[in-house]
C-alpha cells in the first residue's frame, strides 16, 4: 500500500505576536501543524497494521525558508520519504491553487492508495484542500475520521456525528481527513531524528508537476487579516465585600460565565 500525507508547515502560532492588530511573523520559526502530525501518525499506524506500506510526506513550500528541516520532523516521526514543491507562485496561492498543485504532485509521485490530510491547517483552517484534492483526483473522500482500520473493500473509518458514530467502508484509492482526536502523534526519538536526515527528500517546482504559475494564481484575495479587538468592560464593584461578591456573581451569570 502507498500512503501520501500532504502536510502544511506554518508559523509557530505560539511565537506570533500581534502588533497594531497585525501578526508579526518576522523571525517566527515554521513548524509542522498539530493536525498535520495527526495525519502523519494515522498513516504510520495504518502502515504498522497493514504492513508492506510506504508513507510519503508531501508539502508545498509557502515561504518557509527552512522547509527541509521542518519536513524532517515528519521523517523523524517515521515517514519514509518526503516531497517538497517550492515555487514563488505558491506563496500567495489559495485553496484551489494548493489543491491543484497537491493533486498534480500526487499524480507525479505515481498516485496513492490512501491520501491522508489533517481536517484543516493549523493557521488558516479552511478545511478545503482535502476535499478539493479528492474531487480533482476523482476519488471518494471521508472527512473528519476519528478512527481508521484497514479492512473490508479497502478501509474502514469512523466519524463522530455528535449523538452517534458513523462507520464507513470505502474502496481504495481514497482521500481521508482526520480529526485531532484520532491519535496522539508520537514524539520523534533521538535515533529517529538522526535517521531522518538520511531519508530521501525530493525537491520539485511547479514545472516538475506540469503546472505554470497562472494555474495556481489565487482566485480570491485576502483584503485584511486583523486580530480581534476586544475592549475590557472595566466594571468597578462598590460596597462591602458581601455586596461585591453578590454583584460579581450576578454579573458573571448575566454574561453566561456562571449558570444561574
Amino acid at each position: 500500500m502507498k500512503i501520501i500525507v500532504p502536510v502544511k508547515t506554518n508559523p509557530d502560532l505560539q511565537m506570533v505576536r500581534i502588533k497594531n492588530r497585525q501578526p508579526v511573523l518576522e523571525a517566527v520559526p515554521y513548524i509542522l501543524g498539530d493536525l498535520d502530525k495527526n495525519a502523519v501518525e494515522a498513516a504510520l499506524q495504518l502502515q504498522a497494521e497493514a504492513g508492506d506500506t510506504q508513507v510519503i510526506a508531501l508539502t508545498l513550500n509557502q515561504g518557509n525558508r527552512k522547509i527541509k528541516d521542518t519536513m524532517k520532523e515528519a521523517l523523524a516521526m517515521g515517514a519514509d520519504e518526503a516531497y517538497i514543491v517550492t515555487d514563488d507562485a505558491l506563496v500567495d496561492t489559495d485553496q484551489a491553487g494548493k489543491a491543484l498543485a497537491i493533486a498534480k504532485a500526487i499524480e507525479t509521485i505515481g498516485g496513492a492508495d490512501v491520501i491522508i490530510f489533517g481536517e484543516g491547517s493549523h493557521d488558516g483552517y479552511s478545511g478545503q484542500v482535502g476535499p478539493r484534492v479528492a474531487e480533482l483526483l476523482g476519488v471518494p473522500e471521508i472527512g473528519f475520521a476519528r478512527k481508521l482500520t484497514p479492512g473490508g473493500p479497502g478501509i474502514q473509518a469512523e466519524r463522530s456525528m455528535g449523538d452517534f458514530i458513523e462507520v464507513l467502508e470505502a474502496p481504495l484509492p481514497i482521500v481521508i481527513t482526520v480529526a485531532s482526536e484520532i491519535n496522539e502523534p508520537r514524539i520523534p526519538t533521538l535515533m529517529n531524528i538522526m535517521k531522518a536526515g538520511k531519508k530521501p527528500s525530493t525537491d520539485w517546482t511547479l514545472a516538475d508537476l506540469g503546472l505554470e504559475a497562472a494555474d495556481v494564481a489565487p482566485k480570491n484575495k485576502i483584503l485584511s487579516n486583523l486580530a480581534e479587538e476586544q475592549d475590557r468592560k472595566n466594571i468597578m464593584l462598590e460596597g462591602d465585600v458581601n455586596a461585591q461578591v453578590a454583584a460579581l456573581i450576578d454579573a458573571l451569570t448575566r454574561e453566561g460565565v456562571l449558570e444561574a
Binding site: 509557530d12 505576536r17 523571525a27 520559526p29 526519538t189 533521538l190 535515533m191 531524528i193 538522526m194 536526515g197
Partner: protein
C-alpha cells in the same frame, strides 16, 4: 550502540562554539539541545565582548546578528532621592573593530546553530539528555529516553545547573549561596527614540549599569542595554543577600520600582514589554570551576562555572565561546595524533594559559570585596550627597566650592572604614 566522534550536551554558546569548530574540521558531531531551538532557553543581560574571542572564529563575527556595538558606557549611582550618572564615550569604542556588542540570545544562538549545521554538524533540538553513560569512570556516551549514543568525547555544555553532570557524579550541584539571579524585561522602542535617549549615532549602542538603590542596597545591580529596536532592562541580585534580607523584599517588585525611579522612568517610557526572562548566574568565580575534564568528557561554559562578576560587568558568553573553541581544538589535535587521552589535559592547559582562567585568577578577590554592603548603599548615597551639596543654592550665604566638596569628602570618604576598603581595592 551507534557511535560518533563527539556528542555535545546543550546548544548554548559553549556547545555551539565547540560543535562549530569540530564540524568545520569534518568531525562527526551531534549536538543535543532541550529547547525548541538553540537560544529558546538562553538568557543574557545583553552584552557580548567580541574582542577576546575575535581571533577564534574570525570568519563568524562578520555576519553575526549582533544588535548594536557598544560605543557609550553609562554608570548610574542611585542614592536616596538622587542619582549620579557618568557617561563615557571614547572614539576608539565607536570605531571598527568594536570590542563588544549587545545581543539577544534567541536570535544569536539560533543563527550560530545554523552555522554549525552549515559546516555539517548535526543539531538536534527538543531532546533532553537524561544520563551520561559510563564504563567505570569513563564517559562513553549519552542516554536520551530509550536511545543511547556513544562518542569518543562528550562535551558537557548543559548550562549553570549542571544536572546531567551532577547525576553522573562529575560535579557537585552548585550551592545557591554562590549564585545570583538575573531577571530582565525586553522593552520595544523605536530606533530613533533609543538613539536620542542614549545620545547615540545611528546603529551605535549603549551599556548602562546601575548600582545602589536599584537593589535596595543588596549585592547586585541594574543593567540596561540598547538593542536595535528594543532595550534589555534587568537586575542581577545575589541570592544570599536577597534571602537573608531582614525586611523581606519580594524581588520581583524591584524591577517595577526600578522602572518607576525618576532617573529611569523617562528612559523606558512607552517601551512595550515583549519578553520577560530570568536566569541563574554563578558568582563563585574561580572556586566555582569544577575539574574541567575527566575520562571521555570535557566541561565547558556555565556548566564549568565560567561566569565572572568583574564589578563593572558580568561576563559569561565570551568564556563560553572560548571554552567551546578550546574544547574543539583539543579534540581535533587528539584525533590527529590518535591520542584521545591527551585531549583533557590539552584542554585544561589551553584554558589555563589563555585569558580565560587568568581572568578568573585576577578577579578572585572581587567576590570578597563586593560582599561588603557599603558598596551598594553607603557609596552611591555618599556621591549623591556630595553633588547635592555642590549644586544646592538657597537664600543663605553659600560656602566655597572647596568647603562644600571637602566637608562631604571628610564626612563620607575620609574615615577608617573607607581607607580600609581602599586598601582592599588593591586586590581587585
Amino acid at each position: 550502540m551507534e557511535k560518533v566522534d563527539v556528542i555535545v550536551v546543550g546548544g548554548g554558546l559553549a556547545g555551539l562554539s565547540a560543535a562549530y569548530g569540530l564540524a568545520a574540521e569534518g568531525l562527526e558531531v551531534i549536538l543535543i539541545e532541550r529547547g525548541d531551538y538553540s537560544g529558546a532557553k538562553n538568557v543574557t543581560g545583553g552584552r557580548l565582548y567580541v574582542s577576546p574571542i575575535r581571533n577564534m572564529y574570525p570568519e563568524l563575527w562578520e555576519d553575526a546578528p549582533f544588535e548594536r556595538p557598544v560605543t557609550r558606557e553609562f554608570i548610574t549611582l542611585m542614592g536616596e532621592g538622587n542619582s549620579t550618572t557618568i557617561e563615557f564615550a571614547a572614539d576608539k569604542f565607536a570605531a571598527q573593530p568594536y570590542q563588544s556588542y549587545t545581543v539577544l540570545r534567541a536570535t544569536f544562538d539560533l543563527w550560530l546553530s545554523e552555522q554549525v549545521m552549515e559546516k555539517g554538524g548535526m543539531v538536534i533540538v527538543k531532546q533532553r539528555v537524561d544520563d551520561l553513560i559510563k564504563e567505570g569512570d569513563k564517559v562513553i556516551g549519552i542516554r536520551a529516553g530509550e536511545d543511547e549514543i556513544g562518542a569518543d568525547i562528550t562535551i558537557i555544555a548543559e548550562g549553570v545547573l549542571g544536572l546531567v553532570a551532577n547525576k553522573a557524579g562529575l560535579r557537585e550541584l552548585p550551592s545557591w549561596k554562590d549564585h545570583a539571579v538575573g531577571f530582565k524585561e525586553t522593552l520595544e522602542l523605536p530606533k530613533e527614540v533609543i538613539d536620542n535617549r542614549w545620545h547615540l549615532a545611528p546603529d551605535e549602542g549603549a551599556a548602562h549599569l546601575f548600582m545602589g538603590g536599584v537593589t535596595k542596597g543588596m549585592l547586585g545591580g541594574g543593567f540596561l542595554y540598547t538593542n536595535k529596536e528594543s532595550i534589555s532592562l534587568g537586575i542581577v541580585l545575589g541570592m544570599k543577600d536577597a534571602k537573608e534580607r531582614v525586611d523581606k523584599i519580594d524581588i520581583y517588585t524591584l524591577l517595577d520600582d526600578f522602572k518607576a525611579n525618576p532617573t529611569i522612568a523617562p528612559l523606558v517610557a512607552d517601551g512595550e514589554l515583549v519578553e520577560y526572562s530570568a536566569h541563574v548566574i554563578s558568582e563563585a568565580g574561580l572556586s566555582g570551576i569544577p575539574q574541567l575534564w575527566g575520562d571521555g568528557y570535557l566541561m565547558t561554559g556555565d556548566a564549568a562555572g565560567l561566569a565572572l562578576n568583574q564589578l563593572y560587568t558580568v561576563r559569561g558568553m565570551d568564556f563560553a565561546v572560548a571554552s567551546g573553541y578550546y574544547a574543539a581544538q583539543a579534540i581535533i589535535e587528539g584525533k590527529k595524533q590518535n591520542d584521545l587521552d591527551a585531549v583533557g589535559p590539552a584542554y585544561e592547559k589551553m584554558m589555563k594559559e589563555s585569558w580565560v582562567l587568568k581572568d578568573f585568577e585576577t578577579a578572585k578577590n572581587i567576590l570578597h570585596f563586593i560582599e561588603n554592603p557599603r558598596i551598594f548603599s553607603h557609596y552611591p548615597n555618599a556621591v549623591g550627597r556630595l553633588f547635592d551639596r555642590v549644586f544646592t543654592l538657597n537664600d543663605q550665604p553659600t560656602d566655597s566650592i572647596y568647603t562644600k566638596v571637602m566637608s562631604s569628602v571628610k564626612k563620607d570618604f575620609m574615615n577608617v572604614t573607607t581607607a580600609k576598603e581602599l586598601l582592599g581595592m588593591r586586590k581587585i
